[in-house]
């Protein structure tokens, strides 16, 4: 980060220690490490490479959705349609490749494009009419959900051609097996984290989230930016669709029904403010891992899944409480 291009760097350069303490991801990171420590002590099976690889595999779909969700929440928006859009994309890909005659790669490209199209549409409605993101994406949730069920005729698509599930294949790393999809997800997180923290576009996203009016007066083309953010989010949902297919090996019209809420959970746990302008994609990655670690760890301990729901709920309320209190103090 150079001082000349980063507005935030106008603050005095903090010491490394202070920087670590004040970074917005510190809280979530501590929570994640505590959870890991707890589960490592509680079960023999938790602290193994194979298990960590498993957790990453399990969270990669929601994780990829959550990247898009983070972008939108940073603008003080919200996207309720992400899971449904992903499900539609995955059915388009599966049907085109398995039953249509499209080559797998073309089917994937088409599915991603369809999802990006949904994102574009969300963005246009939010920006041009304009409508509240909550309402637009609530409507789009139902549209995408219905289209998924109509187009799939309620049938799960099986017998997918090999290339569609390629990302679900594993390669050995030491004693564990890593899926290619996990790498894609991690790469996407790093790419978006870099984009947000170190490019003009990224800084504009934060500026927009802090105050659309101020951003506009500063010469940011807020309309184009907003539409762009929703489109990029849609694109990410399309990639999530590919990851989903590769993970389950089928095209499932029932998929993604709670993924919108799960992605919001991850964003919130990662320390991103629902009021916009504050947070990070890396925080979201930690948030996603927190949920994955709890689910996996509690299962390994033999705790019934209803407790996972209970704990996730409490975690979310705590995270938002902390966000609210810190905002009040900042005022």
């Amino acid at each position: 980060m150079t001082a000349t291009t980063t507005p935030y760097a106008e603050l005095k350069a903090p010491t490394t220690a202070r920087r670590l303490l004040t970074a917005p991801t510190t809280g979530p990171l501590v929570a994640l490490l505590l959870a890991c420590a707890f589960f490592s002590l509680s079960t023999d099976q938790f602290l193994t490479g194979g298990n960590f690889s498993l957790i990453v595999q399990q969270v990669m779909v929601v994780g990829t959705l959550a990247i898009g969700q983070t972008l939108i929440i940073l603008t003080a928006g919200i996207d309720l349609s992400c899971g449904a859009v992903m499900a539609f994309g995955s059915i388009v890909i599966a049907k085109m490749a398995a039953e249509g005659s499209l080559p797998p790669l073309l089917a994937i490209a088409l599915g991603i494009a369809v999802c990006a199209g949904f994102g574009l549409l969300n963005g246009l409605l939010v920006q041009k009419i304009p409508l509240p993101p909550f309402i637009v994406t609530l409507g789009m949730l139902n549209v995408a959900f219905a289209l998924t069920h109509i187009y799939s005729e309620e049938q799960t698509v099986t017998n997918l051609p090999g290339p569609l599930t390629a990302l679900g294949q594993t390669f050995p790393l030491g004693h564990t097996d890593i899926t290619y999809g996990s790498l894609v997800t991690i790469a996407l997180f790093l790419l978006l984290a870099y984009t947000l923290s170190s490019t003009g576009w990224g800084r504009h996203v934060y500026a927009l989230g802090n105050s659309q009016e101020a951003a506009r007066l500063n010469g940011i083309r807020t309309s184009r930016l907003t539409i762009g953010i929703y489109t990029v989010a849609g694109l990410l949902y399309g990639i999530a669709a590919v990851l989903l297919i590769s993970r389950t090996g089928v095209g499932d019209p029932q998929a993604g029904q709670t993924d919108n809420l799960d992605s919001i959970t991850a964003v919130v746990l990662g320390g991103t403010s629902l009021f916009g302008g504050r947070g990070s994609v890396l925080g979201t990655f930690i948030g996603v891992l927190i949920v994955g670690v709890f689910r996996n760890g509690l299962q390994l301990m033999g705790v019934a899944s209803i407790y996972q729901t209970l704990i996730t709920g409490v975690l979310v309320i705590l995270a938002v409480t902390v966000d609210q209190i810190s905002r009040k103090k900042a005022r």
Binding site: A35, Q257, G302, V303, Y307
Partner: protein, 340 residues
Amino acid sequence: MPRTTRLSSSLLRAAAVTGVAALTLTACGSGSGSGSGSAGSGSGSVKVGLITKTDTNPFFVKMKEGAEKAAKENGAQLVTAAGKFDGDNAGQVTAIENMVASGVKGILITPSDSKAIVPAIAKARAKGVLVIALDTPTEPQSAVDALFATDNLHAGELIGEYAKAAMKGKTAKIATLDLAPGVSVGVQRHNGFLKGFGATDKDVLCAQDTGGDQAKGQTAMENCLQKNPDINLVYTINEPAALGAYTALKAKGREKDVLIVSVDGGCTGTQAVKDGKIAATSQQYPLKMAAEGVKAVVTYAKDGKKASGYTDTGVTLISDKAQAGVTSKDTGFGLQNCWG
């Protein structure tokens, strides 16, 4: 934002985190306490996994009860998981993976999606885990080692035959309150009912999906009555849907002259048969499915013998208005054995 507040917000977070950690400890403590003993320590006992469609459906609660009891009797350790909603395939896949990682010897699963779950089951079986489907078969059925379930077609046939006898002399105007498109349990019961009654889908005046939900059952019945006010025979996928239908019929003053038949046989449902709200129901036995499943896993752990094929866990027609030529038991028997 001034740096001091950023620091304090961070400290706040840390404080919150500590609170959560404490909460986790208590929650986990109570969780494993009420369950079947603490994990990890019982390295000697056989670990059995049970994955249901949801945590909250009474049918699966009963199934869990049966599994817990059988686990205790056989010195096995039971771990359970469930999807977040009926149809949550991804949740069940995750549960299978976590259970395999935790070292279960066998998994009992009620698949939310008969087809979509197959690859995940294949992975578990490849690692030597015995997988038994409970209640709902996979597609293909051979994707699991064994299936312990109600013969849903037969369950439907029984109430179809009952309805045929009870409607004797009247022209049937049929409504069916079904489960959801493409779900095998619902399709089999529906087809069984029609087969037992000697009707076809063309004879059905109104067919609606209810998801097996009472409120949706009521709405569906209201709509059916709006369309065809003279409906006099209602097939329902389960008793919640049947009770919804009853509420709708009662609002129209039609509860006495419309025959409702159902499948399931839960305690609430059987009571509704006793109260005369439902004429007859086919009672099934989830507790038995789970208990047999646990036993099969324990056997596999002991001598490596895998359960295979289909085991019919039985179904009994329950009614207090017995019809000539149709074998049934009364609600006294039904209430004693509800979901037993």
